[in-house]
Symmetry: C2
Subunit: 322 residues, 2 copies
């Protein structure tokens, strides 16, 4: 039986307000891992047979801040799997891994997977339903893309924008945190659909990227706007048909005022609120009724079944660039 | 040409905070109406030929408070028709009327209609698309029902609950302002669908009615609850699958904390906010994302085409009681 050191990123304690470097630490001395599962099947708490993986790529995403503290009213039943990080244990996130051993019928040694794994070199995965097999021989794209555009990040953008917001050519689309991993893809998918797309972000460098590289029609720095309602009216004089919300709070409140009749909002995340002691109050909800808006909160975890459809959509674009 | 006095309910001035008796007045001395349209077709600002009606029944509804003042960001384009009442002119609302004369091909003298009309005895209707013909010979129900359960009130309950919330047998349903015209019907339709239904209201008499007459499984007086979150957890220990929101504000905020995964919210109105100078801040929106909730704001005006389907659904129940 092979034993190796297993470098891990550990949460020291639950985090309040802004996370600090010292909230996490790396250990590589005490943990060890068996590359082979024992001969008998391990039936885990999720009632699935376990899988051992070697982690290859990890993605750092905003929701990870959320799970660094307990959230009232949210528990394991909310996501049908572990939610909060455990102080003293490695944090988890989306990544790409290679299966080393498996008791699960869907996976065998040598398989490549993307999905939820731990921030460590080797992981015992007790919820293999959170893993998705990569059919890598079908594509020529770098494997690391499955920790980004071809994995949860891309699927999040696709599901939230395409499946929930039903974009039509010529519609006006607004994306907040538009230079983030998901936001920049939403904008690019929106352009592929023939929409007019404006993004917001918080630095000049990000705004330049949105306009010069990611193909947004326009972009603005929300930190330079004294009145977000005025800013949105400047870019959307005819109203916003689709809003992809990554930030919540004051921006969402201003968007409500500027939505078009029968507009759609994808609720992906609300990062402006994660580090606050108390969330900000949002006051313009009545505009959801006035304008007959559909707000759809979602998590990509519910939509892994759409991944093949998403790949059919996105891979040709990526392969045409390689 | 016949001239008659036309009693009218007039808005004196735009209303702020709580409306007072003196905000409206009745006049019956100065106005007059011609029973016959002139021989040439009147093409109105809505580009529809006009109709003259005699109003028979009028419904008094919460949204009428909204339109007693101008709302920033809401105008005629929002509803494709007049929104705000005009000080010095009669207010409008849903009602039942008899057509006296018509240049519109869909209506002729003697037709009975339900829809938007003015609070006066006789009205020149310049937006006849807001009128719906009543096929009264098909039913034995009192004509006044088309100002309530068989008109906009019933259709609102049906569309919001049945069409937007897709109820399934056994689901847990919460209705606020449950003793109101729409709320009491939502609860009764939910019971017909086999749901568990709890309502909130603001007096003991209303709570008694909800439990003893309208068939709600339970009901509570929100004014007697110091903590709405605690109250909702008492009635929905397993969470709320469907919330029919008539009130907004603090109740909506508490509901967000208690929604079940993949729950649905019909945004019908937010009466708790209409008389406030500034709307209250709602802080728990992130639960729309955690629980992957669909919030659907709506107005019955968009869904008149569902009225025949609604009648097919509701009339047998009503006729069985007559």
């Amino acid at each position: 039986m092979t034993l190796v050191r297993n470098k891990q990123v550990i949460l020291r304690n639950y985090v309040t307000t802004f996370p600090k470097d010292s909230d996490l630490y790396v250990t590589s001395t005490t943990a060890s891992v068996k590359f082979k599962l024992p001969a008998h099947t391990i039936i885990t708490t999720s009632k699935e047979p376990a899988v051992i993986v070697k982690n290859l790529y990890l993605s750092c995403d905003p929701y990870q801040r959320l799970f660094m503290e307990e959230i009232p009213g949210v528990d394991e039943s909310t996501y049908s799997q572990r939610v909060y990080y455990t102080p003293g244990s490695p944090i988890y996130g989306y990544g790409v891994a290679e299966v080393l051993d498996s008791h699960h019928p869907d996976f065998k040694a040598g398989d490549l997977v993307w999905g939820t794994t731990n921030w460590e070199q080797y992981s015992l995965i007790t919820t293999p339903k959170s893993l998705n097999k990569i059919q890598h021989t079908d594509t020529d794209v770098p494997l690391s893309y499955y920790a980004g555009i071809l994995g949860a990040t891309g699927l999040t953008a696709y599901v939230g924008f395409y499946e929930f917001c039903s974009p039509k050519k010529g519609e006006n689309v607004f994306v907040s945190a538009a230079a983030g991993a998901v936001g920049q893809l939403v904008g690019q998918i929106a352009k592929l659909m023939g929409c007019y797309v404006v993004g917001s972000a918080g630095t000049k460098q990000k705004i330049d990227l949105l306009k010069s590289k990611f193909g947004f029609d326009d972009a603005f720095n929300y930190k330079e706007e004294s009145d977000l309602d005025v800013a949105l009216k400047r870019y959307f004089p005819e109203g916003i048909d689709i809003y992809f919300d990554n930030v919540g709070g004051k921006m969402l409140d201003a968007v409500f005022l500027n939505m078009s009749v029968h507009g759609r909002i994808a609720g992906c995340g609300m990062i402006s609120q994660y580090n606050l002691d108390q969330p900000e109050g949002v006051t313009n909800l009545m505009h959801l009724v006035y304008k007959r808006i559909r707000f759809h909160g979602f998590t990509v975890r519910d939509h892994y079944h759409l991944h093949p459809k998403f790949l059919d959509f996105i891979l040709p674009y990526i392969q045409s660039l390689i």
